[in-house]
Symmetry: D2
């Protein structure tokens, strides 16, 4: 098949050249005397990505799912009560994990297409006078539905109820792509993975932990070992690890952070917003519906899009892949067959995204879904052409691309 695959799933994302180069290296001795020089700087700069000064960052050889487990098992005890909400496949899976780990979950079901029900959270927290709830879970960006939730509002609800529960955030598909403010929002455990906004292969579960959460870890009773914060903290402080770290991915992470900080986090977020809005204009031009029910829930990293009734979204995704080498995301769980998803996060620009929109139009058309060819492309173009200069900064180009 000629040309390159267009990867527009909501993660893994496109790896920038500099990150590929940083990882395609011989292996190295993780006990070398100059290794800490590398790792200590990496921890320091990772904190900038989470926007935390007081927190501590851990890097596990795992996927983001491992990060979820690390957050829970290090800080909770069997039978601890967890407040959570379910409105998509990933918020669902995290709840399931809690249960399997022996936690008691107060799971609030919301419509798929809505985000964290902050008001209900607030009520439950206020009602929990005895502070039986030890953990409050927020899925910052539900990758299955393209829905973003308001983390700060959950913090407000906790504060309003003077509730001491820890705040856990699944930021796997948000952190490094949309604004995330660990310290300002009072997040206690923030989980992300390497293969989304960090533009790396899967393989690192990254977690930032507040001092309060680290304290809670001391008394937590859920059995665990691989994902232990204390083992990490004891060795990380000198720049080493309790077991062999994934050095090539960490070298790539260094390159990825360098790219993000060079572009500027605010510029990165503005770019994601600008690109996402272009996709939403295209969806509107197609006269399709987003799964996200209200603009306040729009995700800037992934759009989940209903195909019109009577059409098969899976056929569209398959056609896009098999005929056009365009990888779109399928609908998951209860959205299967009704929804396709466009990931628009990571290393991305307008030309790449326009190709994806145009390819999606072809795949829709080929599978009999009524769409005016070029209509979505034109809508996105018009939005981007009109976008203010501030949103279109003079690009900085790396010496080697």
């Amino acid at each position: 098949m000629s040309g390159r695959n267009a990867l527009f799933i909501p993660g893994p994302t496109n790896i920038p050249q500099a990150v590929r180069a940083a990882m395609d290296i011989p292996l190295e001795d993780q006990r070398a005397p100059d290794f800490p020089q590398f790792t200590l700087g990496l921890f320091r700069d990772l904190k900038k990505i989470f926007k935390t000064d007081t927190g501590q960052v851990f890097i596990f050889p795992s996927s983001g799912t491992g990060g979820w487990e690390a957050a829970l098992t290090n800080t909770l005890s069997p039978g601890d009560r967890v407040l959570a909400s379910r409105f998509g496949q990933f918020s669902h899976l995290w709840i399931e994990m809690c249960r399997r780990l022996g936690l008691e979950v107060d799971a609030i079901d919301a419509e798929w297409g809505e985000g964290v029900p902050v008001e209900t959270y607030a009520e439950r927290l206020k009602a929990d006078k005895q502070h039986r709830i030890k953990a409050v879970l927020v899925c910052h960006n539900e990758t299955a539905t393209g829905v973003a939730s308001d983390v700060a509002a959950v913090r407000h609800a906790l504060d309003a109820a003077s509730h001491p529960a820890l705040l856990y955030v699944d930021g796997v598909s948000s952190i490094a792509s949309v604004d995330f403010r660990m310290d300002e929002w009072g997040v206690d455990l923030a989980v992300t993975g390497s293969q989304k906004g960090l533009m790396l292969p899967t393989g690192l579960g990254i977690i930032a932990v507040s001092p309060k959460a680290l304290q809670a870890a001391a008394g937590a009773k859920l059995h665990h070992c691989y994902f232990d914060f204390a083992d990490m903290a004891r060795t990380n402080k000198d720049g080493y690890f309790p077991y062999t770290p994934a050095t090539t991915l960490m070298r790539g992470l260094r390159a990825s952070i360098d790219l993000l900080l060079a572009e500027g986090l605010d510029q990165v977020f503005a770019r994601h917003q600008r690109l996402a809005e272009g996709v939403r204009r295209a969806v509107a031009a197609w006269r399709f519906q987003l799964v996200a029910r209200h603009p306040r829930w729009y995700s800037d990293t992934v759009s989940a899009i209903y195909v019109p009734e009577g059409h098969d979204a899976n056929a569209v995704v398959r056609r896009a892949y098999e005929r056009y080498d365009l990888s779109l995301g399928v609908g998951l769980s209860k959205l299967a067959g009704r929804v396709f998803r466009i990931g628009h996060l990571g290393s991305l620009n307008e030309v790449m995204l326009l190709g994806a929109l145009a390819g999606a139009e072809l795949a829709l058309n080929d599978t009999g879904v009524p769409v005016a060819l070029g209509s979505g492309v034109a809508a996105a173009q018009e939005f981007w052409a009109a976008a203010k200069p501030a949103a279109m900064p003079a690009p900085k180009r790396a010496a080697v691309r």
Copy 2:
């Protein structure tokens, strides 16, 4: 700058992953006993690309321009007469090279936008009763104007005049992308480079030479050494080279040929034709003119496109690059400022090309050139959506992409 550069100049082109992997290797001993096993197979399969059984292929560490010089200096003597035509920057440069090498050129000027003037060639050949013309030059695909010429017709003209001159073809931007039939068309010297249809970095000048041309080489008097066919032939027959060959590029060439033969040359040509026609539909939808004056001269590897009077094509190209990281070709020489070029050759598919067309529309719009956003994209999509199944084969996907 986020995302990847979209490379749509008429060469260098996009390197497929398999070709990159084949080149990113440690260096090797070009005198190793198992080296010929590699090179002899490479020569054998290169002949398939040129569609020659009787010819011999040489690989020089040089650009395509070096291939031009190799063709001339090996086969001609000072003062020899050359029949050539000029209708673009590259046909012009080859003529200039002839003059600087001490040849006498009968250069026919054609309009830029037309191809080799076959009728005039026929007349000149017929008139040359004494066979003073030793060489007939054809630029198969004029990269500056997006014009393809009819090589077979020039062969007919030679035959009709029973003229013994050698037939030289510049196939730098055609071979491996559009049909080229060395033996059938009676081509004596066919020159190409690595960085176009062969999807490699610049660095190899590749030339196929007919037995008749090899015979002519024996008596040729133009001084040369680096580009000598005989030195090459003497060592190549055992799989070695007279001086250090560019082994990494040759390893990449192996991978590139493997990709081309796996897709099938006819499928490669059909793909280029299908993609090129999509671009031409877009140009028509924009209501712009191609430099190529007639469909018989349409190039399937590059389209040179006039911007409307009063607009600056260079500004468009610069905007595309600086704002959208889209590399388009500028107009060259007398077309500078009036023309931009879209290269559509090599490792390419619809989604990539749609991105480029959409990006070009944005750059045109941003620089004040009137164009309906999405119009070109839609025209290309409509053509491709309607293209017959035969032209849309079930893709074969490599195990590792």
Copy 3:
């Protein structure tokens, strides 16, 4: 620093070129319709590495330590009794993990330099009439001491006692380098990692599980989720994963398995044995002692070597790294400062190893440890020069190296 680092720690090891190339690729959609074609073949061939027909192989994004945890948490319940032995840092750590996961460990201390005390195991198993022991742990190759243990003998002990406990083997630094026969030896859970004999970066915990162990998993009560066999089994059967897999490492694993199977596992083992014996000859020529106390415990993947009394092994290792860019292993835990280690596993040949031995001699000499320069090199050379032809097969060379 000029030249390349010589990596002679007992893992990570040298990555072959073909494996690097296989991993340095764009990311891919792990839900693509043709993805299972890749993964199902990978599972099939991984079983050959473990020499199991009946077992099932799981691939986790983790280090080998994660593999240990996966083996334990999937098959045991809180308070279950584990029979284990400690004779080095890694056997120690696995025991510690058991305790932290809530298991009761019967830990037999052996001398560091000896292997699993099979006779004691046999006694304990025979004495355990009520079958309170649920798990028997064997560290196949103790990386800290360079000691190999006899897994088959432990199986015999279990059988002789008609004991139903599951047999767990840590094969992190043995599997794919020295012979391992899961089915023949009746191993129930065999754990390895990607960064040793499999010649990959750290990041995959790979575990092979017998049918009996899978059955035990159904009733096990240790809480876990990330490392769950059942989640994996349910999705793996169709070629997919319960969460995002580490696709680039898996593509590398494919290349690594291809190399191992092309060389032939028996040839791989013979090569490791031949190279290891050369190192041991060098140690003897230096008049140093191995930590391994008896030839039956010699490891073919790593040699732990005492420096003479009064000398600092850490200084030797540091000198080797800082002056000669040679990475040797330090002594761990109670061997710290007294021992240095040479890893001789993975992608390796005589010339590489001779360079390491010569470099070690220089570092020893530079730090004042008495050693005759060249003496170890000569001893290894003499062994290899005399090795029988059968052990020196005509090499097969890959087309691209």
Copy 4:
């Protein structure tokens, strides 16, 4: 075949990781507006490698042989007289090239094993009162014999005779490895290639040209075009090229120069000298003879070594390659079968070289050549162990290796 090939031919040499990374990139537009920023800096820093302030550097897509031709054809006219000497295969080939290009060569034959006969040069120049000699050729480092010549002394001879001939130096296997001082030595044309001290793949012919030589170029009459200085100069001044440049190699060249300048040219030269002397100590310990007849001719980049009478050097080289994956250089031309060569230039350190020496010993021993295993290794080690601290600088290590 396990492990990596040990490449110890006198070029191509080992590519450093940073250089590989710099070249394994997507292709780029050589007409992009920011391209000159890259190329102008590259020209500037290349001049440091040649140690010239006043000269101009040209980069041709070619091998070093192309560089020879560029130097000659740009500056000489048919029938011009050239003073040269022949004492090895490469000095021979350059002379042959002169003849084939239509020059008249005064070729002095010296013993193979000696260098440029400076006294004879001085006599001829003094005798040439009419200044018929236009060019004086010096092969700085004869790669076939491992002989270095005294360029400065030839300059003195020219000056002593007040002779205006241009001084041409073949520095292909010397420049960037041993000291070369273009301006101080009054060199007019200095030629090198990418695949030796510059640690790149073959593919760039690099030539530095003095103002005097550029002036001579204006009146030169040898026909040429591809290798034209004036075409280059006209476009290079703005950072562009007259035809498509080999951009990936040039990106690698940037990385290579960065490495050389970071290490410091004087340190690079000292390292080559130190490593070369170790090899010579090994040769002495083996009781073999170098082809170089006197220490003043010892090459610090390659050693050509006679095997004892009655033995076949080709068999040694073949055995080294086939059994040990060690690439040594064969003897060329009249040295074929009597000599093997060890290249010791480029990205190299002691451990790598010790491996090669030990491997050579094994190959010698295997083919029946009497050699005490380990003897050469020990001699090299002893030299390096005794080398003064000044010659063993604290290494600087790149962040990513």
